[in-house]
């Protein structure tokens, strides 16, 4: 689900900027995993919403196949990798991240960066989808390495039940003990407390930074969030991440004071974008909006990575409340709040062929969001990593349609 990529940069960015620092943290994650591997340490491949507190506290280097797949897709290598998986018998209906990752597990290299070290274990958490379980089972089997799973079921209720917390808590400890045994690393409560505090600090800064979209015009282009969230997913517990996010917040506040924005056009319309970015078509999708003066001011990611919790049980609860694990009403209310807080005028939904869970009740949920916020809702078909499942013409028509409705509404006001 969550992922990002660092695009090739045109000018050398300011090394003191949040953008530079966040990009570096994301890149460093790969480098430090490679270095750990070279030192002879065991390294893991880890699901994006697996509790990062576990490898972080244990001092285990991990890389995130979803990030990697997004990076490969953004650099144009997605289709080659998908086709490789398909030649192994994987259906082209399977999530493209999984196809790319399974192809990488076989080839051990990709035509474009990022290349990652091969894992000694995999860490799976299905709070975003059960597809994840199948994908990691196959990685584990094909690479003949152990798999650790924290099963966080989709919660059909609004609140997380005590039974679910108990189930999830027991699994946390089960996995921690299993990893200690496998890798020889030791869990330290003190270190965990530190990670928890830093993670809280990073999360608070992220929430505050993304909340700057409340200003009109917004001091940032929402596409920034798609790039920065990788750090939120994977490095929240690192001090550098907290510092970089705090800089980001400062920059956004400063932009607001100075009347500046990273959205480099006149902000005529403000929308919420729903779904994962179409990485292979990032420029097209972004330009299609910017060209019309549409700023994507918020996405569910703004809320999703606010991992602020007070203790171990609360942390378990936070992992039960990630976007794809919650019921329609809970998911809807979070989005309605974001739309209202940020004066959103339209909702653009990416119907993502890769992601059954995210797209599976989106039509009904987006109808309800549209009604609750009195905003138009328009969707387009795409895929986060398989470039074949996107039509530029359809995207353009749909975005144009959305623009026209927003325009008519503005005039009526």
């Amino acid at each position: 689900m969550a992922e990002t990529t660092t695009k090739p940069r045109r000018q050398p960015p300011d090394p003191n900027s949040a953008k530079y620092k966040l990009g570096k943290i994301a890149d460093d994650a790969y480098a430090s995993a490679a270095a750990a591997k070279a030192r002879g340490e065991m390294i893991g491949w880890c699901a994006s919403n697996f509790p990062v507190e576990i490898p972080e506290t244990l001092g285990l280097a991990v890389v995130y196949p979803e990030n990697q797949a997004a990076g490969i897709a953004a650099r144009g290598g997605g289709v080659t990798m998908c086709e490789e998986a398909e030649s192994e018998g994987y259906s082209n209906d399977i999530c493209a991240y999984a196809r790319i990752s399974l192809a990488y597990a076989k080839l051990k290299e990709a035509p474009v960066e990022p290349n990652v070290p091969m894992p000694d274990f995999v860490l799976c958490c299905n709070n975003i989808c059960n597809c994840m379980i199948k994908w990691y089972e196959n990685l584990s089997k094909e690479l003949n390495i152990p798999m650790f799973i924290i099963d966080i079921p989709f919660n059909p209720d609004y609140e997380v039940s005590e039974a679910q917390i108990a189930y999830v808590r027991a699994q946390f400890w089960d996995v921690i003990h299993g990893l200690e045994k496998l890798t020889g690393k030791k869990w330290s409560d003190e270190k965990y407390k530190e990670v928890m505090e830093i993670s809280g600090r990073t999360s608070r800064a992220w929430l505050a930074a993304t909340a700057c979209a409340k200003y009109t015009p917004s001091p940032f282009n929402g596409f920034d969030l798609l790039n920065h969230m990788a750090v939120m997913v994977t490095a929240r517990g690192k001090k550098e991440a907290a510092e970089a996010m705090e800089i980001l917040l400062k920059e956004y506040e400063q932009n607001h004071v100075e009347g500046k924005s990273t959205f480099r056009a006149e902000e005529k319309y403000r929308i919420m974008f729903e779904g994962i970015a179409c990485w292979p078509w990032l420029r097209v999708t972004s330009t299609g909006l910017k060209g019309r003066g549409i700023n994507m001011v918020t996405t569910i990611y703004a809320d999703a990575f606010g991992f602020v919790y007070k203790d171990f049980d609360d942390m378990c609860r936070a992992y039960c409340n990630v976007p794809n694990a919650i019921n329609l009403e809970h998911a809807r209310d979070k989005r309605v709040k974001l739309c209202k807080d940020n004066s959103v005028e339209g909702l653009l939904v990416h119907t993502n062929r890769s992601c059954k869970l995210w797209s599976g009740f989106m039509p009904e949920m987006s109808r309800q969001i549209g009604e609750a916020c009195d905003i138009p809702v328009v969707s387009f078909d795409g895929d986060q990593a398989d470039a074949r499942n996107f039509s530029e013409a359809q995207y353009d028509t749909r975005v144009q349609g959305l623009t026209e409705i927003m325009d008519t509404r503005k005039e009526a006001k």
Binding site: K141, G360, E364
Partner: protein
């Protein structure tokens, strides 16, 4: 009843589930729908309601498209379509398990698309083997019991659950025995075999067991027909008339299966151990394995398919892949590998519930037959 009469009876039930449901409703019974792949049917049965399988149907989709994108499996799409169009009117509730992503999302849509039939979630753990997993299964059952009480006005009693468990275990045993008996009787067509399995979803299990036992006895007394080419099938469903017809035309005989709607349903009995009957039922789920929607790091299911095919004398494995079913799509490459390693030919055909043209499938199956 003789063999033919029994087979006709299965056919009747399988072909017209609505009539079955009406009969139960008329007799004053409550009916509770059970979605794929596993639900705690024993609980529903023990409370005095009829668990009624809801695996969709081969129909055209219109209404479901307002809720689902096109890339959700046709079983979920058609289940929702029937619900919206009133095909399940009279049912007191639907129990939907959380076993795959499409099952997770259908419940959310159901609440708004079919508000007249309450949605009861059954949240199963994937980490089902350790004690904490068993405890979570039990908590899920308790929630189902409470929701069922509200939806039907019926009450739960652990002793009654004990009796229902016996009914279900007896049915499992009959179904497992039947597979072997049918393997020895090629004159029973694949379409008829499918009817027997399908009808089990629309009957009280004690009634179905009675018919199955009668068929086993009747076949025991009958002479076996001329041999056909034995194969194994695997997939989620395999009940399309178009498909079973082609298998019959091609002289193929299903001698064993790993189909979720067929033998996978009956592989695991509720064990004797457990403090209460509800505990026993939670242990049943712990013991379940070899299924694409149950976490399996070892991918034992894939090896088991190859082993089962061999043991049953199947000359090849036909993978009947439900389009957009990712649990099955992820397993396929490993099933293929496991069968290749045993020298068992594998062919895959993609199916969905809207298929009208089976010509491509026919060509694939004919080619498959020719290499066996």
């Amino acid at each position: 009843m003789n063999v033919q009469e029994l087979l006709n009876r299965f056919r009747e039930v399988a072909a017209c589930p609505r009539a079955q449901m009406e009969n139960y409703l008329k007799s004053g019974k409550k009916v509770v729908l059970t979605a794929p792949v596993y639900t705690p049917e024993e609980i529903i049965h023990s409370m005095g309601a009829v668990p009624f399988g809801a695996w969709g149907a081969d129909i055209e989709l219109n209404e479901s498209k307002k809720y689902f994108p096109a890339f959700i499996c046709s079983i979920m799409q058609s289940l929702l379509e029937i619900g919206i169009k009133g095909g399940y009117r009279g049912a007191s509730a639907i129990v939907i398990p959380s076993l795959c992503d499409s099952l997770k999302v259908i419940g959310q849509n159901w609440k708004y698309a079919v508000p007249s039939i309450p949605f009861i979630p059954m949240t199963y753990p994937q980490n089902r083997k350790p004690d904490f997993g068993v405890a979570f299964t039990k908590a899920g059952y308790e929630r189902v019991i409470s929701d069922l009480g509200k939806a039907t006005g019926l009450t739960f009693d652990d002793a009654a659950l004990g009796s229902s468990i016996e009914v279900y275990n007896a049915h499992n045993a009959a179904m497992r025995e039947l597979v072997g008996v049918l393997a020895a009787h090629p004159e029973v067509t694949n379409a008829q075999r499918s009817d027997i399995f399908k009808s089990a979803f629309f009957m009280l299990k004690e009634e179905h067991t009675e018919l199955v036992r009668a068929l086993i006895d009747a076949l025991g007394a009958a002479e076996a027909g001329p041999a056909k080419t034995p194969i194994m099938t695997t997939g989620i469903i395999a009940d399309a008339a178009g498909l079973t017809g082609i298998l019959d035309d091609c002289g193929l005989q299903i001698v064993c299966d790993d189909v979720a709607a067929e033998s996978r349903q009956y592989a695991t009995d509720t064990p004797a151990e457990g403090e209460t009957n509800l505990d026993r039922l939670a242990l049943k789920f712990r013991n379940m394995d070899n299924c694409s929607v149950l976490y399996d790091q070892e991918k034992n299911r894939c090896k088991k398919i190859a082993a089962d095919a061999k043991a049953a004398g199947a000359k090849g494995v036909l993978v009947i892949l439900t389009k957009f079913c990712d649990p099955e799509e992820f397993d396929y490459p490993l099933i293929k590998k496991a069968c290749d390693a045993e020298g068992i030919p594998v062919t895959v055909i993609e199916v969905d519930r809207q298929m009208v043209n089976y010509e491509q499938a026919r060509t694939a199956i004919e080619t498959f037959r020719d290499i066996l």
